[in-house]
């Protein structure tokens, strides 16, 4: 029983990190079909934002610098995304392979930039003191930093859902993704919507970067490790579907945690990949598919 509870929490914890790095991609990849390989470097930018704030404010203000890092990372990564969209991606809409190669190159440049600015060595971000330690419930220890990440993910998910469902701007975003020509002749500025979508998606990568500093050291190639996982979550969940991404992250996290308990970390990784391949054979569109009726597509 204890084992199951413990693995459930580990699974939930993995799921929350998967979802955190994937949320931004549900916008740029899911909604706009842009394969942005530099997404990982936006995560890295968010992580270094935390480091810079912490160094600037000193160790006396860990909580403050960490709190500031969340919005700051969103803005910085979002702005990087806007620049990338303006300089590169808007010239490549509808050309996924070219986008993939070009953004991969941009990613390498950003990594080098990080090396030049912060050195090739990994840097350490200290967690605020209120995240030290953990809670033991029914024999299972829950660390505060993992619970904090889960909290951040919940907050971001609710914020995204409210934005998409309740605000006219969010509805416009959904409208453009559902039917671009109709949106444009209905007076929606599709270019503005594209830029906003890209800003939000990239900004969320920055927020993910802040969360990831709680898990280990920060280095220039930090984002790469999470990039593939993030794409997998979006694909398994169904393109552009927030609900799908949540389900997929939970499923992958749990599968990882339970396979890992019985075997080893690398077997678990391979096992999860195998499950994904099988699942996509069965449902290539992913878990949640847009409901459509009639001839219009």
């Amino acid at each position: 029983m204890e084992v199951i509870l413990n693995q459930l929490f580990v699974g939930l914890s993995i799921a929350s990190i998967l979802l955190l790095v994937a949320l931004g991609l549900t916008f740029t990849f899911g909604q706009m079909n842009v394969i942005n390989m530099a997404h990982g470097e936006f995560i890295m930018a968010g992580a270094y934002t935390t480091y810079v704030l912490q160094t600037a404010l000193g160790t006396g203000f860990l909580t403050l610098s960490f709190g500031l890092a969340l919005p700051a990372a969103f803005l910085i990564a979002g702005t990087l995304g806007l620049i990338l969209e303006f300089l590169v991606i808007r010239r490549l809409y509808g050309r996924p392979l070219d986008t993939l190669l070009v953004t991969w190159g941009v990613g390498l440049m950003l990594q080098q930039l990080a090396r030049d600015l912060f050195g090739a060595q990994n840097v350490n971000v200290s967690a605020p003191s209120f995240l030290d330690g953990g809670l033991t419930v029914a024999g299972v220890s829950l660390s505060y930093s993992r619970m904090f990440i889960i909290g951040v993910v919940l907050f971001v998910v609710v914020a995204i859902a409210l934005y998409m469902q309740r605000t006219p701007a969010g509805r416009r975003m959904r409208a453009v993704m559902q039917n671009r020509p109709l949106a444009s002749v209905s007076g929606v500025r599709t270019r503005v919507v594209d830029r906003t979508t890209f800003f939000i998606g990239s900004g969320l990568a920055g927020v993910a970067g802040v969360g990831i500093t709680l898990l280990g050291p920060v280095g220039p190639t930090l984002g790469l490790a999470y990039l593939i996982d993030a794409f997998l979550v979006v694909i398994v969940g169904g393109l552009g579907q927030l609900r799908g991404a949540i389900l997929a992250a939970l499923a992958l996290g749990m599968a990882n945690s339970f396979i890992e308990y019985n075997t080893s970390a690398s077997i678990a990784k391979a096992g999860v990949f195998l499950l994904i391949v099988l699942f996509l054979q069965w449902r290539p569109q992913g878990m949640v598919v847009q409901q459509r009726r009639g001839l219009a597509s």
Binding site: P168, R171, R174, L182, V185, V188, Q290, R293
Partner: protein
């Protein structure tokens, strides 16, 4: 009568194929004009080039004296031109009300789009009423019937109070009752002062509701006139009868 829309020497080329090939068309303010023609005559391309969904190769489109070529889609919407599509096109996953709301808020600045709006404006409610969709306002647009989707599309355009309304086959796939209702709606819109251009295949509908008809053929205007004049025109007969795949349309058109 003043000229509202003045198209001169319009050419739309897709590589070597000229979908529109030197077309001239003038619409007076407050007129209702029906455009007919065999398949591939360029009728939809004409509407697409007015709303900038295709970019014309040459020519000029003046709307109330203002050149439309080179303007973006939303700028054209703002000058007062609305259109519908041949296939019913609505935002399937948004509710009927949200669909109309997106169209209705086309002039609002981006800032105001971040605030949640409460309630329904009179204009939106009234427009939904005029197309008989008040009861469905909270349903997802994807669940509407074919005919209702087309009305919703018309409502989304009407709520913007356009000066020029372009309808692309508004009664395609509708039942007899829905056609009648649509015809009455078009007549009413025109009576309220909107200029309307209707592309239509259904000759029965054209005969019942059209006064002035323009016939297109191979990207050009073949002739213009009343329904009776067009029907008795020799060249129109040839165009329809000369192409076997349009024989059925021709028989309908000319009987």
């Amino acid at each position: 009568m003043t000229e509202l829309l003045k198209i001169r020497d319009l050419v739309v080329a897709f590589d070597a194929f000229h979908a529109i090939d030197g077309l001239d068309l003038t619409l007076e303010e407050h007129e209702v004009r029906f455009v007919i023609g065999p398949n591939g005559a360029g009728k939809t391309t004409l509407i697409d080039s007015i709303t900038n969904l295709v970019r014309p190769t040459a020519g000029s489109i003046l709307f109330a004296g203002e050149e439309l070529l080179g303007k973006s889609e939303y700028a054209i919407v703002r000058t007062g031109i609305g259109r519908t599509f041949q296939k019913p096109s609505v935002f399937d996953e948004l509710t009927v009300l949200e669909n109309v709301d997106i169209a209705a808020s086309f002039r609002l600045p981006f800032r105001s789009l971040l605030r949640r709006r409460k309630g329904i404006s009179d204009e939106v409610a009234q427009t939904l009423g005029s197309v008989n969709l008040t009861d469905q306002s909270e349903s997802p647009a994807g669940s509407l019937s074919h005919g209702q989707k087309q009305w919703l599309e018309v409502a989304m355009v009407l709520v913007q109070r356009p000066r020029l309304l372009l309808l692309d086959e508004p009664v395609a796939g509708m039942t007899e009752k829905e056609r009648l209702h649509t015809g009455e709606l078009v007549t009413r819109i025109a009576a309220e002062g909107t200029t309307v251009l209707v592309v239509e295949h259904d000759m029965d509908f054209v005969r019942r509701f059209a006064h002035k008809v323009t016939v297109m053929h191979e990207g050009k205007i073949l002739t213009e006139g009343s329904v009776a004049e067009v029907q008795s025109n020799e060249t129109v007969r040839e165009v329809y009868l000369g192409r076997p795949r349009d024989a059925r349309g021709a028989a309908e058109a000319l009987t």
